[in-house]
Amino acid sequence: MIRLIGLTKVYRGFTAVDRIDLHIPKGRVFGFLGPNGAGKTTTISMMAGILKPTRGRIELNGIDLAENPSEAKIRVGYIPDRPFIYEKLTGMEFLRFMGGLYRLNNGVPGDERALELLELFGLTDWRDELIESYSHGMKQRLVMCSALLHRPETLIVDEPMVGLDPKAARIVKNLFREEAASGTTVFMSTHSLEVAQEVCDEIAIIQDGRIIARGTPTELKARSGVDGSLEAVFLKLTQERMSIHERSRTPA
């Protein structure tokens, strides 16, 4: 379960995220859409505990992130948009490291779960190679393994499909659905409307740091009056907002 209450982030006078309120129940896949620079990554970074909000609260699985960060984070798996990881570790060593960090089995993680995930993401043959020799997509898959290692109750994912080949992308889409079915809440930002339409139960569109629309793909289509793909809905909603914004700046 995820709850964002009045979440705001101001960078040197610029409001990147503006009073976001969201409640995402358990077992849902929630898509977070928006144009470049809309505030998606800033919101996700605050939810992952990387950025400190200027105002507002974040509750993950009923635990306040600011008040009890360790307890909140231990139940979360985070996948960033760019897989910066320790290049001088092997894939298996990295997963053991993450297992330790998330206090799995009192820090002595059995390798079974790690091996199972490596197999799922097609990295078994590479498990004892240094990460520096991995391709971008392989690193991204390894980060996904690490985020799922401790069986999180909430998954926070920033652009999950970047750098993945079609086979890996298919695995990820299926996995998100399966995780949601087993009770995990998945919060993901994406540029891919096709992915959002295929995977998400519910979608929010963010622009200029504010949520401008929210609902199931069908609800959004109905609300925008567009009878077509989600892409058309997205373009119409963001365009409308841009026009309002521009009109408000034009002197009468």
Binding site: G49, I50, K73, F84, R96, M98, L101, Y102, D128
Partner: protein, 565 residues
């Protein structure tokens, strides 16, 4: 040539934008660093001038010594320049991130190569020039040559840089065609370190300080033999030394034009050879540098053992971080190889104390030995700070762009930083005590001084390590190409200053009580109750100060890293 100008423009414009658009905080840092640099420059100038003046006062051999010093300085700078060009050209020609984009453009390979050689020369030479200039100006100050000296210094300096650059770039191109570029960097780093250590130890064990004291030699022949510098008529530095020495008033004009012609023709020839060689082998090497290879790590057993040894007493999360740090450190050749430098530093440090000419001093030996031992606390503290700025200060930055893993994990910043503190504390305590106990044994100090200095160093190490970790957290740099760059930034300079100040305060506070207790011991009288009444609080104050040097910086570091974005 239009493409060459275009290829050079990103660096020039980037530098200009950096100055124009930098924030006021960054500008302040630049000013402070600039002022520190000028202070260092003047200190080096004064030191060099003093040495040269002293040489002048030595009858008969003074000028010979000054010439040999010039020759040695030029040779040292030339060697540094060649190595610096090898290392920098590896980055600029083969590993830089923007190279792929540049190679995909229609710019000719020749112009692309030349633009990168230009970058390499600028990157490699500026520091050597900055540090070499005060020495050369000291020569000008002492020998008062005519304006021709300055002109000659400028153009021979340029020719020397071009020759060193030509050799360095050519060597790199050949090496990259033999080994893959990433491996070449590691091998070169190791070679450079071994060479520096070898030269440093050789130079120290030759005891060059004896050269200014001809009486220390058995005969004039032996003395003249010891004066011979490692010089050869085929070395460009010899040509430069001959030409400059003529201006300084020492040498005859014989061969002046010949040496200049040799210098400039060699520089021009190397440039032509480099461009010609680049046409044949540069792109091949660049392409090879891009070929990915599966890499299996070595030393698993050793690293597992080390990880268990250090990480066992910590909790599971910290154990994971420490284990990761150990593996990362020992798998990065540019990191662990610096331990060799550290070993050499310690050996030479101890050696220096074994050859101190204490018996020649007019001060009573017992006093002198103990005074030096006391001041050695400061020197050892400074050495520990220097080690700390290289290994501990970058500990937080070493997480690099993977720091998101720590930030998003359940591990708190407080626990993360204290974990780093504990891990570095143990080896630093061992090293600190080695420096103090061994030197004190060599100096044959009294048991009281031995005990006091060992305890003082023990508690001071806590402060040195804590400040290293904390300032590293306050001035983190997560985006770097080489971790060594982190130590040389603003935060590293601030750390060195604060850490040196910390040791100075410890010594100042301890000086008076130590003097009272020591002189009482030497005279065979007891310390009075009145004296104890202020001595005990002073020692207690030192302890409080040392504790504050741990707690305050760590708190600030935790807060800064926790709030940093």
């Amino acid at each position: 040539m239009r493409d060459l100008a275009l290829l050079l423009s990103p660096r020039v414009k980037g530098a200009l934008n950096g100055i124009r658009l930098s924030e006021s905080r960054a500008r302040k840092r630049t000013w402070i660093l600039g002022l520190l640099g000028i202070a260092f420059w003047f200190a080096l100038f004064l030191l060099s001038a003093r040495v040269l003046r002293y040489f002048q006062s030595v009858e008969l051999v003074g000028d010979i010594l000054a010439y040999h010093l010039l020759s040695m300085v030029l040779l040292t700078f030339f060697s540094l320049l060649v190595f610096s060009h090898v290392i920098t050209s590896l980055s600029n020609l083969y590993l830089s991130k923007d190279l792929e984009l540049c190679h995909a453009t229609p710019a000719s390979l020749e112009e692309l190569f030349l633009s990168r050689v230009f970058y390499t020369i600028v990157d490699s030479s500026w520091m050597v020039i900055v540090f070499g200039l005060p020495v050369m100006m000291a020569y000008a100050y002492v020998y008062a040559p005519g304006p021709g000296f300055y002109f000659t210094l400028a153009h021979t300096g340029l020719a020397t840089v071009l020759i060193a650059g030509g050799i360095g770039v050519l060597l790199t191109m050949i090496l990259v065609n033999i080994f893959p570029a990433h491996r070449t960097r590691d091998i070169l780093m190791l070679l450079v370190i071994l060479l520096v250590v070898g030269l440093y130890m050789l130079f120290r064990f030759l005891r060059p300080e004896r050269l200014v004291d001809p009486d220390a030699f058995f005969s004039a022949v032996q003395y003249m033999g010891a004066l011979k510098a490692p010089d050869s008529p085929y070395l460009p530095t010899r040509w430069v030394a001959e030409v400059l020495w003529h201006h300084l008033g020492g040498g005859p004009a014989v061969g002046y034009g010949f040496h200049l012609a040799l210098l400039w023709s060699t520089a021009a020839a190397l440039l032509v050879i480099d461009v010609w060689a680049a046409g044949g082998i540069y792109f091949n090497g660049f392409s090879r540098a891009r070929e990915g290879k599966r890499r299996r790590p070595g030393g698993g057993l050793f690293l597992n053992l080390l990880g268990r040894l250090f990480a066992r007493p910590l909790g599971p999360d910290l154990r994971a971080v420490v284990d990761k740090d150990i593996r990362t450190f020992f798998r990065d050749n540019s990191q662990w190889s610096q331990l060799i430098l550290l070993g050499a530093l310690v050996v030479v440090y101890l050696y220096n104390f074994s050859v101190l000419p204490l018996e020649r001093s007019p001060i009573r030996l017992e006093f002198l030995q103990n005074q030096i031992a006391f001041l050695n606390l400061g020197l050892a503290g400074f050495v520990l700070s220097a080690i700390s700025v290289r290994f501990i200060f970058p500990a937080v930055s070493a997480e690099g762009r993977a720091f998101w893993i720590i930030r998003s994990s359940p591990l708190t910043i407080r626990r993360f930083l204290w974990g780093k503190f504990i891990v570095y504390l143990i080896p630093m305590l061992v090293l600190g005590e080695i420096l103090i106990v061994f030197t004190n044994r060599l100096l044959q100090v009294t048991p009281f001084m031995m005990g006091l200095l060992a305890v003082s160093m023990f508690f001071s190490v806590f402060g040195i390590v804590a400040m290293g970790v904390a300032l590293g957290a306050m001035y983190p740099k997560f985006r770097y190409e080489n971790i060594a760059q982190v130590s040389t930034g603003f935060g590293g300079v601030v750390y060195m200053m604060i850490s040196s100040l910390f040791m100075a305060v410890v010594i100042l506070l301890e000086a008076a009580p130590v003097y009272v207790i020591f002189t009482a011991g030497v005279r065979g009288v007891a310390v009075t109750t009145l004296q104890y009444m202020w001595i005990v609080p002073v020692f207690f104050l030192v302890l409080v100060f040392q504790a504050a040097a741990v707690i305050v910086p760590m708190r600030l570091g935790i807060r800064a890293l926790g709030e940093g974005e």
